[in-house]
């Protein structure tokens, strides 16, 4: 869009609303984030580097970001399936399933953590069958993944659902009448339309998973170098009154998350341009 300041706008108050937006954003987001960096900058460069690259901390980055990405990817696939079923089919209990999707939003994360731990622990309902097979879910990295998949599920479903509802079945009929097979129709006609929503859902699920603490902390087991997530490292620093060290790690997380989200947004914009939706 080009700026045309001389044109009278339909709704006045552009200056006021922009001013309010910026002030609000500053108060709620920017100032607290800036505080993190200011606090972290009280460390010398060397001490900062030591704090953020300690082996335990590095392992926690790998776990936090790796599992968050994996969980978001899993949620993207199954969230799409779930959204598809909810939009395209009618089945008994559909309303109930639809409501259940939002449960991970509403449930206190600690409750989710305890429930999942109880389920997957060696003596739990599921754990007792998985453990003899050599699959150790609770108290290990796999447990972290399970928890992150759980809390991230609604994001993809809820972003894809409205787009699917707007998708005309005529498009699929047109593709079929032109000789496309089901997979071709999905790949070339449906998926490109859903892609922006899928990526948004992925980004949201990822962001949520990176910052998740409550549900993970119970099921992870918190074994140093193996199943410690980065937020836990921050908490443990705080418990030792090492505020500067905690904020140093926090600032690394912040920058990394921001860069990743920026990359996802950039990818989305690039896709949109390629698909001619920028106009």
């Amino acid at each position: 869009m080009t700026k045309a300041p001389t044109l009278p706008r339909v709704l006045p108050g552009f200056g006021l609303s922009l001013g309010f937006t910026l002030t609000y954003l500053s108060l709620v987001v920017l100032i607290p984030l800036a505080a993190v960096f200011i606090r972290a900058s009280s460390l010398s460069l060397e001490a900062f580097w030591d704090a953020v690259t300690a082996p335990r901390v590095l392992a926690s980055y790998r776990l936090s970001f790796g599992m968050a990405l994996l969980a978001a990817a899993i949620n993207t696939v199954f969230g799409l399936l779930l959204a598809w079923s909810l939009v395209r089919y009618r089945f008994p209990g559909k309303k109930l399933v639809d409501a259940l999707v939002d449960l991970p939003f509403a449930l206190p994360t600690a409750v989710a953590g305890i429930a999942l731990t109880a389920l997957y622990a060696g003596n739990g309902w599921l754990g007792q069958y998985l453990e003899p097979l050599g699959i150790k879910v609770a108290f290990g990295p796999l447990g972290v993944l399970v928890a992150l998949v759980f809390i991230g599920l609604p994001f993809v479903v809820r972003t894809v659902q409205p787009v699917l509802e707007d998708l005309e079945t005529e498009l699929e009929e047109a593709a079929t009448s032109l000789g496309a097979h089901r997979w071709q129709t999905f790949r070339h006609v449906i998926l490109p339309v859903l892609q922006p929503a899928l990526m948004t859902g992925f980004a949201l699920a990822f962001a949520r998973a990176v910052g998740e603490y409550g549900s993970v902390i119970f099921i992870a087991g918190n074994i140093p170098m193996v199943s410690e997530i980065t937020p836990l490292m921050i908490i443990s620093k705080l418990e030792q009154y090492d505020y500067a060290g905690a904020t140093a790690i926090a600032s690394v997380m912040l920058v990394a998350s921001f860069l990743l989200l920026l990359a996802i947004n950039g990818l989305q914009a690039w896709q949109a341009r390629r698909n001619g939706r920028s106009e």
Partner: protein, 358 residues
């Protein structure tokens, strides 16, 4: 390629969309399925395409039973009312879609696809839009692209579902003529669905009139217009004044008045139809003809339309008469004036409501 449908029956719950329908579409013709909304015309088109399964009956394409053939293999080109273009693809990619989806073995090379797509875009006179996206096109252009896309796979029949329904009146007229010319060039068996009688009469070789899931009449545009087989057809094709009465020696008795009509085979209770331009206005309060009173005189370009209310026995009924603007009466009739109406040409049908037969 010819299309035959035999004893097709289709119901949606309690609603019968197609009532044991049998129809023949000869090869190379452009046929219009015409009828009011809900008459089953779109359902019939979708059954022929294979997008909808009939409850019973068969669809024959070129004499072969295609009832169990998937849409994909039927080789029908389908054009949707709302275009159904792929928004994320350029015009070129939209048209190329059908060719690119072909199995590897029979898929043409990219250069061959390119040549073919440009040929089709030239056919629909939109070659210069190849790199645009559907959102950047007008409605008429989109529908022409949709048609080019359907033609790309060299369908054996072309099915168009209200192809001009979403367009404004002027573009619709242009596209009608264009579709007719295109059909004269390609001679592909085509069926198009419409509820616009003008469109059907102007474009089609043959018109199939449908109502309540059944065929009312099949014929050339001139036939169905001039010799409507049923009261429904008469009423649907163009404006009509309707008179209910009883067959008598001099014509049709409507109360104390008589509607002079030529020979007709009907007896008893009848319905008579007269087109607005075949009704004369006589400036007298008493005498022959149907008693009426002028309620409004409208001048519409070359035509003057006179709206009238019935008097006496036909009180409460509404009639329309069309006169050339140059007619002496056109300028002199005044609202409220009592007149008599005399038809020049009447179509008489047995009254289905009183005769009991549908």
């Amino acid at each position: 390629m010819s299309i035959q449908v035999q004893n097709i029956h289709k119901a949606f719950g309690d609603f019968i969309a197609l009532d044991n329908l049998t129809l023949d579409f000869p090869s190379g013709e452009l046929v219009a399925l015409l009828g009011p909304s809900g008459c089953g015309k779109t359902t019939l088109l979708r059954v022929i395409a294979g997008l909808e399964q009939a409850d019973s009956g068969r669809v024959l394409l070129d004499g072969d039973d295609a009832s169990d053939t998937h849409v994909r293999e039927r080789q029908v080109g389908f054009v949707f009312q709302h275009y159904a273009l792929f928004r994320h693809m350029t015009v070129f990619d939209n048209v190329a879609f059908g060719l690119r989806m072909k199995p590897r073995g029979i898929r043409p090379s990219e250069s061959e696809i390119k040549r073919k797509v440009h040929e089709l875009l030239q056919l629909v006179q939109l070659d210069w839009l190849a790199d645009r996206f559907p959102a950047q096109l007008s409605g008429g252009q989109r529908q022409r692209i949709a048609l080019a896309r359907a033609l790309a796979v060299e369908p054996r029949v072309l099915l168009l579902d209200e192809p001009f329904g979403a367009l404004d009146a002027k573009v619709r007229k242009e596209l009608r003529r264009w579709l007719r010319r295109l059909h004269d060039e390609l001679h592909i068996t085509s069926i198009f669905v419409t509820h616009d009688q003008e469109e059907a009469l102007e474009v089609a070789d043959r018109v199939v009139l449908m109502n309540h899931g059944r065929v009312e009449q099949i014929g050339s545009p001139a036939e169905v217009y001039q010799q409507p087989a049923t009261p429904f057809v008469y009423g649907f094709l163009g404006a009509a004044n309707r008179f209910e009465g009883r067959s008598s020696a001099g014509g049709i008795a409507i109360g104390k008045a008589t509607l002079t009509a030529e020979q007709h085979a009907q007896h008893g209770e009848v319905i008579a139809f007269v087109r607005p331009h075949e009704l004369d206005i006589v400036r007298q309060e008493f005498g022959h003809g149907i008693p009426a009173r002028v309620s409004r005189v409208l001048t519409l370009g070359a035509l003057t339309r006179v709206e009238l209310e019935g008097r006496d026995d036909v009180a409460g009924q509404h009639f329309d008469v069309e006169l050339p603007a140059s007619h002496p009466l056109a300028g002199s009739l005044i609202a409220g004036e009592p007149v008599r109406l005399q038809p020049r040409s009447v179509r008489v049908f047995a009254n289905p409501e009183t005769a009991g037969a549908a």
